[in-house]
């Protein structure tokens, strides 16, 4: 019994210590980010590896999710003779929920795990320690560009996701199933508000971007430097970021949209 209690206490202490470490880590890596052209170059390169290389998976899944929404929405709405509300349904679902959440989940799987593995391997092969030895701060050189790149890349990806999804819904609804294109767009434009839906979705994805990249980079930096440690940390990145995204999504939705009903 006492052993069990002690175990629980130890677990709590480790958890709080890890939270504190990650907070300090975030502060240290963003503090004093140098505004030089070299820093800009590193940032652009990271933007390429987390953003541009994730573009394909975002485009393809966005298109298919939009097409599925169009098809499912049509089969339900057509029973009520309200298939003209399809555009509104597809666009609201995408801008409010699906684009930020699904893009963040895909980003955690595609880019987050890669960040963790990359930084983890650098730590395991003692590249980070060597950098410190020659007087280069690995937090600034390695971690900060990745954090800032993730922060910029995910909101852009989620905008692209929403656009491609709406186009996918249009493709299925209008082109294939024959919903009136004017009604499709006009119902959409009448019900989607730029401030209330598009901007709120963007705010969501900025929050998710913070959380996902922070978790990914910290897991990589804080892991046990063995091959097993790297594999565990990579798994933890995906699991923790997915849980954080889904949990935060509920909180944000409750804050943003609860007064709309």
């Amino acid at each position: 019994m006492l052993d069990w209690l002690a175990h629980l206490g130890r677990l709590g202490l480790t958890l709080i210590a890890a939270l504190g470490r990650s907070g300090v880590f975030l502060f240290q890596s963003l503090n004093g980010w140098p505004r030089s052209s070299e820093a800009l170059r590193l940032w652009v390169y990271q933007l390429y590896s987390v953003g541009v290389l994730s573009l394909l998976i975002i485009l393809v899944s966005g298109l298919f999710i939009g097409m599925v929404l169009g098809l499912q929405g049509y089969t339900i709405l057509v029973d009520f003779g309200a298939e003209q509300a399809l555009g509104q349904m597809v666009a609201l679902t995408l801008t409010r929920e699906l684009a930020p959440v699904v893009a963040a989940l895909l980003f955690a799987g595609r880019a987050g795990s890669a960040l963790t593995a990359e930084i983890g391997l650098m730590k395991a092969t003692e590249q980070l320690s060597s950098m410190e030895m020659i007087g280069v701060d690995p937090l600034r050189r390695i971690v900060a560009p990745r954090l800032l790149a993730g922060l910029v890349a995910l909101p852009l990806l989620s905008l692209v996701f929403a656009m491609v999804g709406v186009l996918g819904g249009w493709l299925v609804g209008v082109d294939w199933l024959g919903v009136d294109p004017g009604a499709f767009w006009s119902n959409m434009q009448a019900s989607v508000s730029f401030r209330g839906d598009v901007v709120n979705g963007l705010i969501k994805s900025i929050v998710f971007a913070w959380v996902v990249t922070w978790i990914a980079v910290f897991q990589g930096y804080d892991l046990v430097p063995t091959s097993e440690g790297i594999s565990r940390a990579t798994t933890r990145t995906v699991v923790y970021s997915s849980l954080a995204v889904l949990g935060l999504d509920f909180v944000l939705t409750a804050l943003m949209f609860s007064n709309l009903s």
């Binding site: 953003g51 990806l157 709406v166 119902n187 598009v198």
Partner: protein, 154 residues
């Protein structure tokens, strides 16, 4: 590792796609727009009540879509709805001057749209003209209220 120029070009393209997506969501999806000037074959019609008619709703003639509702405004003199219709350019000078416009509903829960029915006047409808024969939207709730009111009195 890809070379530096390619990385920069790709990142630039990525940001451009993101920007295009934002503009698409702003203008096409949420309908943020600047006031556009009317062009083509445009006619106006005044209605006492437009019900749930929205901009870009369809305009039909004999059931065939021949145009779109371009703009809906309030006429501040008579307090009627001023609806601007954009019709297919090919129809200019072919419809009669006394063409009638009626707001109808597609199905029980469907959208409102405008249905035109041709008249018999010799004079022809040109761009900028006004349709005088109009019929307002049928509002189901009002009908039900009237019906209930009548049957209660009897």
């Amino acid at each position: 590792m890809p070379n530096r120029r390619w990385v920069e070009v790709a990142v630039g393209g990525f940001m451009l796609i993101g920007l295009i997506a934002l503009l698409f969501l702003a203008f096409k999806v949420s309908g943020l727009s600047f006031d556009q000037r009317s062009q083509g074959f445009v006619v106006e019609a005044y209605f006492r009540d437009i019900g749930g008619l929205k901009p870009r709703a369809k305009v039909t003639l004999a059931g065939v879509v021949v145009g779109r509702v371009q703009r809906i405004e309030l006429d501040e003199e008579w307090f009627e709805a001023k609806v601007t219709l954009q019709l297919e350019d090919g129809l200019e000078g072919k419809l009669s001057r006394d063409t009638a416009a009626a707001i109808q509903t597609a199905g029980l829960l469907g959208d409102n749209y405008i249905s035109l029915s041709p008249g018999s006047d010799e004079a022809l409808l040109m761009s900028g003209d006004t349709l005088w024969e109009t019929q307002s939207a049928l509002i189901l709730e009002q009908l039900i209220n009237q019906f209930i009111g009548n049957s209660a009195r009897e």
